[in-house]
């Protein structure tokens, strides 16, 4: 009995072996290295406390998160709406696919001048950049999801006299939901990347802005804190989404 308990605890500890070892190594290497570019973990944590508790959190992290959320929502809505339009009609798809593929390949940095022109220098431009990045994976998945709806089901619905729009809403959309959901998940890390990119250029606040500021002042500990925050943020966002998705899909599967 006791033995099993020990084994169970041991199992739970296994995932922490490598991370803890790495952190210890980091601290050790930082303390024994001459290089200013590898500050010990403890220094980084001190900077983390000094900078991010809580002044920077308010002035940089929150604005970043706000843009992230708005940009993500905008991109997701655009992706789903356009995706349903394209996916429900073979013809529309044939017309738009090459243009979409072309636009998809454009890096956000290259689109930036256009975004500045259209949306100015403020948050509008940054949000649009994030939305641009998020839109394509959602769009592509929505199209695929809409296509996966069996023709028979559509035909039956049409026979019952549903209009085209009703068919899309009642038949095509529900069957596309798992794919859309997957696309929304793929969009999350992209939104995070875009958030940083949009702040590297013409930024006034934000995590990306903090990062380049720290870089130009040779504040290496500061650079590391930005990375830590981004890593934690990425995980929190990912896990939150997984949680929401599980609940939603659970609900959807009982439909």
């Amino acid at each position: 009995m006791m033995n099993r308990y020990v084994i169970a605890t041991g199992r739970r500890l296994v995932p922490w072996i490598v991370p803890v070892t790495l952190l210890v190594l980091w601290e050790y290497a930082g303390r024994h290295s001459e290089s200013i570019y590898l500050p010990p973990l403890s220094d980084v944590l001190v900077t983390l406390r000094d900078d991010w508790m809580w002044e920077r959190t308010r002035t940089d992290l929150l604005p970043s998160l706000e843009r992230f959320a708005l940009g993500y929502l905008l991109g997701a809505v655009l992706g789903i709406v356009l995706g349903m339009a394209i996916g429900s009609s073979r013809r529309v798809a044939e017309y738009t696919t090459p243009t979409m593929e072309f636009l998809r390949a454009l890096p956000a940095v290259a689109v930036l001048p256009i975004a500045v022109l259209l949306f100015g220098l403020g948050d509008g431009m940054r949000i649009s950049i994030i939305a641009f990045g998020v839109m394509f994976p959602v769009l592509v998945n929505t199209i695929a999801g809409a296509r996966s709806c069996r023709q028979e089901r559509i035909d039956v619905a049409r026979m019952y006299g549903l209009s085209r729009l009703q068919v899309v809403r009642r038949v095509v959309l529900p069957s596309a939901i798992p794919m859309i959901s997957a696309g929304l998940r793929v969009g999350l890390p992209i939104a995070l990347i875009m958030m940083v990119v949009s702040e590297l250029v013409g930024g006034q606040n934000g995590i990306g802005f903090y990062l380049i500021q720290a870089q130009s002042l040779f504040n290496i500990s500061g650079m590391f804190t930005a990375l830590i925050i981004l890593g934690v943020l990425g995980n929190v966002i990912n896990n939150t989404y997984a949680w929401v998705e599980n609940r939603r899909l659970h609900w959807a599967s009982h439909l």
Binding site: P19, I193, G208
Partner: protein, 284 residues
């Protein structure tokens, strides 16, 4: 439902672009150019042309016709093409390393629960880190140049391949593994002959997703660090206030992206033919 979701959702998710590519590239159709797609693109360009000539008259937004003209001149001069060579060189190296590393790591993690448990947290932490945020670090460690560019491509394009391989290897039907074992195949033989081939569809999907990511990354890094190639061409033109030429460079990036998407779609159909009908079924 709950047991299959984590295994299935990711690769399915990223398998999404396939139907798009497949439609236009189906054997018999491949010869036929997608005229409607072309018409739409040309129509859109015309609309922009009219808009930029009338409503949006900014000195910083060239008309499409001006961009096409600039592109034509630049192509003749060859400046833009030498940039493409450098960029694609870094692209190929980065993607190549990412494929090898991603498949090996993904397979190892998929085959061994212990390995997965050991590295899970580190991977979960690293994976959502935006690669652009790593550029400053990479520059400090590796300097400015193709090494940094390649390293960033590897970092960004590793994850889709790694995770698709991981889910592929994990998701192999237990029955086929057992069947293979009863035929007397050793564990590694099962791995090589059963698990890897079954995971091939997933791996191919991961590679296709990464092939798009890698292009975006190579251009972004080149723009941000000015380390040569097409990205440097774009930024050089921007700094030299040659807006048409800058957009000509951006157009080339889009064309490259389109070509890569087509190529990857075609390769995927060729190489993982044994799973093709499954996919076709899934796509009605």
């Amino acid at each position: 439902m709950s047991t299959t979701t984590p295994v299935l959702d990711e690769p399915v998710a990223e398998a999404a672009p396939a139907p798009l590519a497949r439609r236009t590239g189906r054997r018999r159709r491949r010869v036929r150019v997608n005229l409607r797609g072309l018409a739409f693109a040309v129509g859109l360009l015309l609309v922009i042309e009219v808009l930029t000539a009338t409503v949006i008259t900014s000195l910083y937004v060239p008309r499409p016709s001006e961009v096409v003209h600039a592109l034509w001149l630049e192509l003749q001069r060859g400046d833009i093409l030498s940039g493409v060579g450098t960029t694609m060189g870094a692209y190929a190296r980065g993607l190549g390393i990412a494929i090898v590393a991603g498949v090996l790591l993904g397979a190892a993690l998929g085959a061994s629960r212990t390995a997965w448990e050991l590295f899970r947290i580190v991977i979960e932490f690293l994976r959502p880190l935006p690669s652009v945020a790593l550029i400053p670090f990479s520059i400090l460690l590796l300097g400015v140049g193709s090494t940094t560019t390649v390293a960033m491509i590897v970092y960004a394009s590793l994850w889709p391949i790694l995770f698709n391989t991981y889910y592929g290897v994990r998701g192999v039907n237990e029955v086929s593994v057992d069947a293979a074992r009863t035929f007397g195949l050793k564990r590694w033989q099962v791995f090589l002959r059963v698990q890897i081939p079954s995971a091939a569809t997933n791996i191919a999907t991961g590679v296709r997703v990464s092939s798009a990511i890698a292009l975006i990354l190579v251009i972004t890094v080149e723009i941000l660090t000015r380390s040569g190639g097409l990205g440097y061409y774009i930024v050089r033109m921007q700094v030299a206030i040659r807006t048409e030429d800058m957009y000509a460079g951006i157009v080339v990036v889009g064309v490259l992206g389109y070509a890569i998407a087509m190529l990857m779609g075609a390769l995927e159909r060729r190489l993982v033919f044994w799973n093709a009908d499954v996919l076709e079924d899934g796509n009605r």
